[in-house]
């Protein structure tokens, strides 16, 4: 978690209803006897045992060395997660956040065998990754999991979470489906979540959520609870993981289409905003320079059909599906959209584009003691709003040369010593030259854009902070 500096941030933190990773109690559940009584017609122990025996051999414990630049320098760090084998040749499903920026991935199977793995691809929006175990040649086929159908689930169905909570490999916890259609604001771009009260902790990430038939119906991804306790785990529905892994197999990456439509439901209980219509979905806004804007779609339009099919977003829970439909539109081909504007029905053609990267690349600037990142429309919309190209300060090493100048994270870098900076390569070459000539010149002037205001910062990098 970022260090808290400003009162505003403190307020923000204090009023957060959700926190990213919560540590539920690690006490074992004394559920067996109660469950027996409640499930008199089933031998529940048998159910759990069978499912476990079926899935456990396919669960892997993943240890990852990732390289992060958030602290102003390239820093490697080991993290752990879980995964599930989905093919005999060693394909593993896990979470994007488990293997993000990995430079080394090791997997351990339930029987103790360990293999390195390669990340075939990952998707940040749905938090899914596809890995491939690097098996020795002529390895015997691996046990792999059966994938179920999460759309058949109803609230109250028993499920099991398997994986390695806090690195405790070969763990299983049980619970029920608490909600089959959970919308998490800011984390439901293309998919809703399966909510369960089966205990999910850090380290469970990427492991399977299993139904009583021993089928994988989701990937455990978030353990999120309110301040007041309670188990609220969230899993990516398996269909979404399959969709993305399919894209990865096909294109080597996830490959969404982008329209630039910001959608808004017709009925919003949370905000008490209701529109009288019961069909279609509202356009809240269109992104600048987007296909939607080019197609002439305006904020306030009500989209009613996409390629002739009904396109209804009554509540926010409907939106991920609609965005997935848009994301799966063929690229560079016109899609037919029927919309209503001020009571008048119109048909427009919208040509989606490839969404491309959802995060900018990062560059380490040692000796200057900060890292920079390319501005990305999806990752840094507010910086993109100020400047739709360029790089910004991503991390600042403390103590370090940049830290002592007053450079701040999120500062958009406009110039270094009078030279315009637009790409990481620009920074890279200026940095290389500056560091090579540090003996003759150790001061550079950075021109940055901060909160829309231009500022100059003199960076003196004569001091070597990396010294042991």
């Amino acid at each position: 978690m970022a260090t808290v500096h400003t009162p505003l941030l403190r307020i923000l933190l204090a009023t957060c209803l959700f926190v990213a990773s919560i540590l539920p109690p690690l006490t074992p559940r004394a559920a067996a006897q109660d469950a027996d009584a409640a499930l008199a017609h089933l031998d529940f122990r048998q159910v759990v045992k069978e499912a476990k025996e079926k899935v456990f051999p396919t669960v892997v414990f993943i240890k990852v060395v990732r390289e992060d630049m958030q602290r102003g320098e390239k820093k490697a760090q080991e993290v752990a997660g879980s995964g599930v084998i989905i093919s005999a040749d060693g394909e593993v499903l896990s979470n994007w956040h488990v293997v993000d920026k990995a430079i080394e991935v090791r997997c351990m199977l339930q029987d103790g065998r360990a293999f390195p793995a390669k990340v075939l691809g990952s998707d940040k929006d749905v938090d899914v990754a596809l890995l491939k175990l690097e098996l020795p040649t002529n390895s015997p086929p691996l046990a792999f999991a059966t994938l179920g159908d999460s759309t058949k689930l109803t609230e109250g169905d028993f499920v099991m979470a398997m994986g390695a909570p806090f690195g405790l490999a070969r763990s299983v916890s049980i619970g029920i489906i608490s909600c089959t259609k959970r919308y998490l604001p800011t984390a439901s771009e293309y998919s809703i979540w399966l909510q369960t009260d089966a205990s999910i902790s850090p380290g469970n990430s990427g492991g399977p959520l299993v139904n009583t038939r021993g089928e994988v119906i989701g990937l455990n991804t978030r353990g999120t609870a309110s301040f007041f306790g309670g188990d609220n785990g969230f899993a990516v529905p398996i269909e979404v993981a399959q969709e993305v892994s399919g894209q990865i197999r096909k294109y080597g990456k996830s490959d969404w289409s982008w329209t630039g439509l910001q959608l808004q439901p017709l009925k919003d209980f949370n905000r008490n905003v209701y529109f009288p219509e019961n069909e279609g979905v509202l356009v809240a806004e269109t992104d600048p320079d987007s296909p939607a804007r080019r197609a002439g779609i305006e904020a306030g339009d009500r989209l009613v059909k996409l390629n002739g099919q009904p396109f209804n977003g009554l509540t926010q829970e409907d939106l991920p599906d609609l965005r997935r439909d848009l994301g799966l539109l063929p690229k560079d081909q016109p899609a037919k959209i029927e919309l209503v504007r001020k009571g008048e029905t119109r048909i427009v053609e919208l040509i989606p584009r490839a969404k491309g990267k959802v995060e900018g690349d990062t560059l380490d600037c040692p000796r200057w003691d900060f890292t920079v990142r390319a501005i990305n429309q999806f990752d840094n919309p507010n910086l993109y709003f100020q400047r739709n190209e360029g790089v910004f300060v991503y991390g600042i090493k403390v103590p370090g040369n940049a830290a002592s100048t007053g450079l701040a994270m999120q500062d958009i870098l406009l110039k270094i010593d009078g030279q315009d900076v637009k790409t990481l390569d620009d920074v890279k070459s200026i940095h290389a030259e500056a560091v090579a000539n540090v003996k003759s010149k150790h001061r550079i002037v950075l021109t940055v854009l901060r909160n829309g205001e231009l500022r100059q910062i003199v960076l003196d990098f004569s001091r070597e902070h990396q010294k042991d």
Binding site: L12, G300, P381, R443, R450, N451, G452, E453
Partner: protein, 728 residues
């Protein structure tokens, strides 16, 4: 060799002997000189006390040295702390009379007076004060056994000595000093002799010829003679004079209550921000709307209100009410603030009796003469008055070469000085500070310097209106109140590194002053003068003002981080008012200083451009409306306050002037808007599909009530919000 040494030793021994003999002779001389005086040397002790909450204050013990001009001695409270009386020498001039220096202590602080001679002591009381000399005569309640009054001989100019009586090394001693031969000859007026010591003056035979209590004597011997022959103002007479002073000062020096418009409410955050940056002073720290000050009734139904308000405080002044000593309050209207003095002039709506008479007497000639003093102050609607005698210790050259009187008491900030004719001679007025920019100067917490100012200077300033007025320091309409001057530049304060990198270390005290121009607003005065971003603004020079206006801005650490737009939804509505604006405030130390110069003032700005000093001439002009001063409209039904999109907000949000929108400056908790997820600093661009260009549009379009459809924007994101405000 041995012979030589012996000779030298003999010579040396002779010399030593001679000196000793001489000293013995002098000692006997000394004994002779003081013998007649010694039995008359007494110690006068003033036993002090607190009066109400006030610690004793006064001249004695803290006198201004005629030699160096500084104050010597301890504040009177120290004597109370140490549980001892403050003491001075007295000279017995009759069995029950002692002459001593005028203590200049208000009787309320004197518990008792004791006069001691060796083991004998007596209670004493002030019989009278000398109007000409800094002396008091005490009467003793009983004679002091063993003490002998001075017997004065004939006046003479020959071979005089001064016998001083006082503590030396903690012990009371008599000291013999030669009578000084110095003379001071002023350009005009009588020559005089400066006396560094007080005491009894004796002739060569030790016969007293006079007593010295002040620090000046005429060059002839007219001052000699027994103090019994001095003219004296008796205590009864003094009491009558002070009583007359009371009626004069109560009539002519009146309480004036001032009513102010409430200051514009900013968000909590912006108030805290202003406070932190030292942009609030005592005058408006509590945004007070009612203040009580003193006013002086002048001829022509004028009242001089003694209040040193900054322009932004006077701007809110709405009502001036004069409360005479007797009768109903009278309203007054504002005329003008004085440029050089912390006071303003107002005209009474109907005449009031008691107009103050001003004295134009020569201050120098009045030094050490008996004067009257009124200490008047107001605390809210309460008024406190104390009356006593006073003497001018010396005069100093003050602002603009005028002579200012000084009392022996350095802290007397409420003292009004009157002649014995009850004419006002000098009054406490703050000297108006020059506008010099920067937090370390005019925006610091320091109080303005109160000067005991000759009344003639103020009468001249009042008579000289409007030339002596500060036109920018006047009441304003609410709309004009928040108008700020602008040059049209955005500035980043320099620091050491930036100053050096830009080659202006010598021009800016190594980055302590000066600012980088980071942006020049189109069509602004700066843009028209060809100022370009990247240069350094060093300072402003204002003709007729001695100090340059330094460009000194404090770094705004609140804005060191990007505004967390993406986390706005997580903020509980109860904290909305604490969220600082995403855009920087237009008002900063530089803009404030520029505004305080007054619209229309001409100035020269010094820039450093490409290694050269460049000056450009400007006039202080009002800037376009800014966020803090933008027109606003509060919709009770929706629960938001919206403001016009001013240039600063448009710049931040990159909205062109023709693009619609009003900015939400406040969201009421629990309101329709808050429930609908509307957050501060979002824009409303349309209401019911009609574009909103200003708050008037918003007011008109929301007036219909019923179901309102609002288009809301937050940076690049947007949404449509419906609120049902009823009343359709």
């Amino acid at each position: 060799m041995n012979k030589l040494i012996a000779t030298l030793a003999a010579v040396f021994a002779t010399a030593v002997l001679a000196i000793t003999v001489h000293a013995t002779e002098k000692a006997s001389d000394a004994a002779k000189l003081v013998s007649a005086v010694m039995p008359a040397l007494v110690q006068v002790q003033y036993h002090l006390q607190f009066d109400k909450a006030d610690a004793p204050a006064g001249g004695l013990g803290n006198e201004r040295c005629p030699g160096c001009g500084k104050y010597h001695g301890d504040a009177l409270k120290k004597y109370l702390d140490e549980e001892r009386p403050v003491e001075t020498a007295g000279f017995l001039i009759a069995p029950d009379r002692v002459v001593t220096v005028d203590p200049l202590i208000h009787p309320r602080f004197i518990k008792s007076i004791t006069v001691k001679y060796r083991d004998a002591s007596s209670e004493a009381a002030v019989a009278g004060l000398s109007p000409e000399r800094k002396a008091a005569v005490l009467t003793l309640s009983k004679p002091l056994s063993g003490a002998v009054p001075l017997k004065f001989g004939d006046k003479t100019a020959d071979d005089l000595s001064v016998i001083y009586y006082g503590r030396e090394g903690g012990k009371w001693v008599a000291q013999i000093h030669p009578f000084p031969k110095n003379a001071t000859v002023p350009d005009s007026g009588e020559p005089y002799r400066l006396m560094m010591i007080r005491g009894v003056v004796v002739n060569a035979d030790g016969v007293p010829v006079g007593v010295v209590q002040g620090s000046r004597l005429p060059l002839d011997n007219s001052w000699q003679g027994s103090p019994m022959d001095w003219k004296l103002v008796s205590s009864d007479n003094l009491a009558a004079q002070l009583s007359k002073l009371e009626s004069v000062s109560r009539a002519g020096l009146v309480r004036v209550s001032l009513g102010f418009r409430s200051p514009k409410g900013g968000s909590d955050a912006s108030q805290a921000y202003r406070y932190r940056r030292g942009m609030m002073d005592d005058d408006d720290e509590d945004g007070s709307t009612q203040r009580n000050v003193l006013g002086l009734l002048l001829p022509g139904n004028k009242v001089l209100v003694l209040a040193n308000f900054k322009a932004r405080v006077t701007a809110r002044l709405e009502r001036i009410t004069v409360h005479p000593a007797e009768g109903d309050p009278v309203e007054a209207t504002f005329d003008a603030s004085l440029k050089n003095f912390g006071a303003f002039v107002a005209t009474l709506e109907k005449p009031l009796p008691g107009e103050m008479k001003m004295s134009a007497a020569d201050l120098l000639a009045l030094r050490e003469k008996l004067l009257l003093r009124a200490d008047v102050s107001v605390q809210g609607e309460t008024r406190t008055d104390y009356f006593q005698t006073a003497r001018i210790a010396t005069c100093k050259v003050g602002p603009r070469e005028h002579l200012y009187p000084e009392l022996d008491e350095p802290e007397a900030e409420d003292a009004f000085l009157f002649t014995t004719d009850h004419e006002l001679l000098a009054l406490p007025v703050a000297a108006r500070e020059q506008i010099s920019g920067g937090q370390s100067q005019s925006y610091s917490y320091s109080q303005a310097q109160i000067e005991l100012t000759p009344s003639v200077l103020l009468t001249a300033a009042v008579a000289g209106l409007p030339d002596t007025a500060d036109a920018s320091n006047a009441p304003m309409s609410e709309e004009d109140e928040n108008r700020l001057a602008w040059l049209g530049v955005e500035l980043q304060p320099l620091n050491r590194e930036l100053a050096r990198a830009n080659g202006v270390a010598d021009q800016t005290r190594d980055g302590e002053t000066g600012a980088l121009v980071t942006f020049v607003h189109p069509d602004s005065p700066a843009a028209k003068a060809g100022v370009e971003a990247g240069c350094v603004l060093l300072r402003l020079q204002v003709p007729g003002q001695a100090l340059p206006v330094e460009v000194q801005i404090e770094e705004d650490y609140m804005r060191a981080q990007a505004f967390p737009w993406d986390r706005l939804d997580e903020v509980s509505e109860v904290y909305f008012e604490r969220i600082p604006t995403p855009w920087p405030a237009v008002e900063n130390e530089f803009v404030r200083a520029l505004t305080d110069l007054g619209f229309g003032t001409r100035y020269t700005a010094e820039f450093f451009v490409d290694g050269k000093l460049v000056t450009k001439d400007f006039e202080v002009v009002a800037g376009p409306p800014h966020f803090d001063a933008a027109s606003r409209y509060k919709s009770e039904s929706v629960g938001v306050t919206v403001r016009d999109l001013t240039y600063d907000v448009r710049r931040y949000l990159q909205r062109k002037t023709d693009e619609p929108g009003v900015v939400i400056s406040k969201v009421e908790t629990g309101s329709k808007a808050s429930v609908a997820g509307i957050k501060p600093y979002e824009l409303i661009t349309d209401v019911n599909d009609q574009p909103v260009h200003n708050v008037k549009d918003f007011e008109r379009l929301t007036a219909a009530g019923g179901e309102l459809k609002l288009s809301v924007k937050r940076m690049a994101k947007g949404r449509i919000v419906t609120v049902n405000v009823g009343g359709n």
